[in-house]
Amino acid sequence: MRSDLREDSMHTFIAHASITHVSPRPPQWAWLWLLCICGSVSAQSAAPVPSLSKPDTVWVLVSACLVIFMTLPGLALFYGGLVRSKNVLSILMQTLAVFAVVAILWALYGYSLAFTEGNAFIGGLDRVLAHGLDANALAATFSKGVYIPELAFFVFQGAFACIACALVVGAFAERVKFSGVLLFTVLWFTFAYLPMAHMVWFFPGPDAFTSNAMAATATAKAGYLWARGALDFAGGTVVHINAAVAGLVGAFMVGKRIGYGREALKPHNLTQTMVGASILWVGWFGFNAGSALEANGTAALAFVNTFLATAAAVVAWTALEWLHKGKPSLLGAASGAVAGLVAITPAAGLVGLMGALAMGAITGALCLWGVGGLKRWLRADDSLDVFGVHGVGGIAGALLTGVFAAPRLGGAGLWDYVSERASPDYNLLAQLWIQLQGVLVTVALSGTVSLLAFVIVKYTVGLRVDADAEREGLDIATHGENAYAN
């Protein structure tokens, strides 16, 4: 069956080689050719000078702001509330420091390696040190002739890189060494995040798709998974599966917390966690709907799906916990919300409203298993369930996207950039196989890079604080402060 599936999809892929431009819409953010107005506009093109779309600029800037809000303070609070009070500052500090470091690296080389043309796996060096990134540079969106300031695209994408790296720290909270986190972040960002972003999101922009022939040429320049036709609207693979695998590897490498499985390692402030989850939800509207890069119907669809899938996951988790454990917990509901958000991420602008409800409900249930049965089976102390929620939810979301994007299930199908309309064909099994490939590539790349990075950290700055420091709490031991006083 598997091989059938594979054959089928490969066949499909080869047979349709001439229309590989039938790609997801918006597969995700495509950074386009830099359009330096003052630059060399090719003489033969009599195209009008591309001009900036103000409403889309507002939309992408507001979305960038929302995505930043997701990390600071959203994720920080979500995680911070789940640790014991003696470690809350350490988790806030890790989130903040990782955010700041990645922001800087993004400007120095990250953006260039992810979003300029290079090979199928990594971009080029055109934008290193923010070269050419000024107020006049434009970036394409998913519609021909519609541009936004490249800086808006830069910061929207930068915010994604920041949250992806910050997500990881939840897996080895309460015992990891601060310097270790920082070193790991630099390595993982460079060798796992940037290639994934390039592979999934880079393509030469819709203006290049003028004919089937040109589309083939353009597709050849795109990232590896983009070219294969993997659907990932807002970053399920790049952000969630990627980070979750890193977290899981980290949880294994750093080892279990002292007292794990014996003492009660309880969340110190669930109100805080709930606020964090709420802010994540709110910010996620920017994450998902902003990924349309335009304020259009697709953005509205992504927004609505982010509303509905999350609600469905909250209800699913709550109902199942109520049935199985007798009590519906707030932490469960909040975790369900995050699970739903993770699930809908790759699908946001691609599935219909009923599909979103289904995806939310299914993933809510799966992640409940992810933090329970699966976690016990994995035997890793993934402190804040990064894998259980983002990994399980991300994988489920990636695969279900392949299902519910099908037009007959209310989905948007595949977008044909040449004809500028949805392609009439949709092969569900083939797409599912492509989706699975996306998942496998992510797991393999992130797993390998993470493992190597943690080994490097271990034998250089070290991975874990000593037992006394862990007992005293990282806040005092590592950061010299206490979160709470009179």
């Binding site: 009660a264 917990s329 329970g372 016990r376």
Partner: protein, 112 residues
């Protein structure tokens, strides 16, 4: 003089304080504590992790009384704090060698 230490249910504080005031006790000191005893606790569930919590919130009330007032005070606590269900708590009595009021330096019964 005696030092009465009572472990009671939190929601009984106001009743006990009033009863003690009626019994002529002029001051008490209250501490939030966690108690472990016959009363059974509850289970808490945080995602996959289930914890049995045996410690329950209680209040510890300390009051120093002179011997004359002792019986009334004890009786006041006993009746005000009781619900009849497991977990009502205990009263411990300890002999007090000396009591002093910091403000005035008064000693003994006068200090209370």
């Amino acid at each position: 003089m005696k030092l009465i230490t009572a472990i009671i249910r939190p929601f009984k504080l106001d009743d006990v304080r009033e009863a003690l005031t009626d019994a002529g006790v002029s001051g008490i000191t209250v501490t939030e504590v966690k108690g472990f005893g016959r009363q059974k606790g509850h289970t808490e569930l945080y995602r996959g992790a289930e914890y049995q919590v045996d410690f329950l919130p209680k209040l510890k009330i300390e009051c120093a009384v002179d011997n004359a007032a002792f019986d009334a005070a004890l009786e006041a606590i006993m009746s005000a704090a009781a619900t009849g269900k497991v977990g009502d708590g205990k009263v411990f009595v300890i002999g007090l060698e000396q009591a002093t009021r910091i403000r005035t330096g008064e000693i003994g019964t006068d200090a209370l």
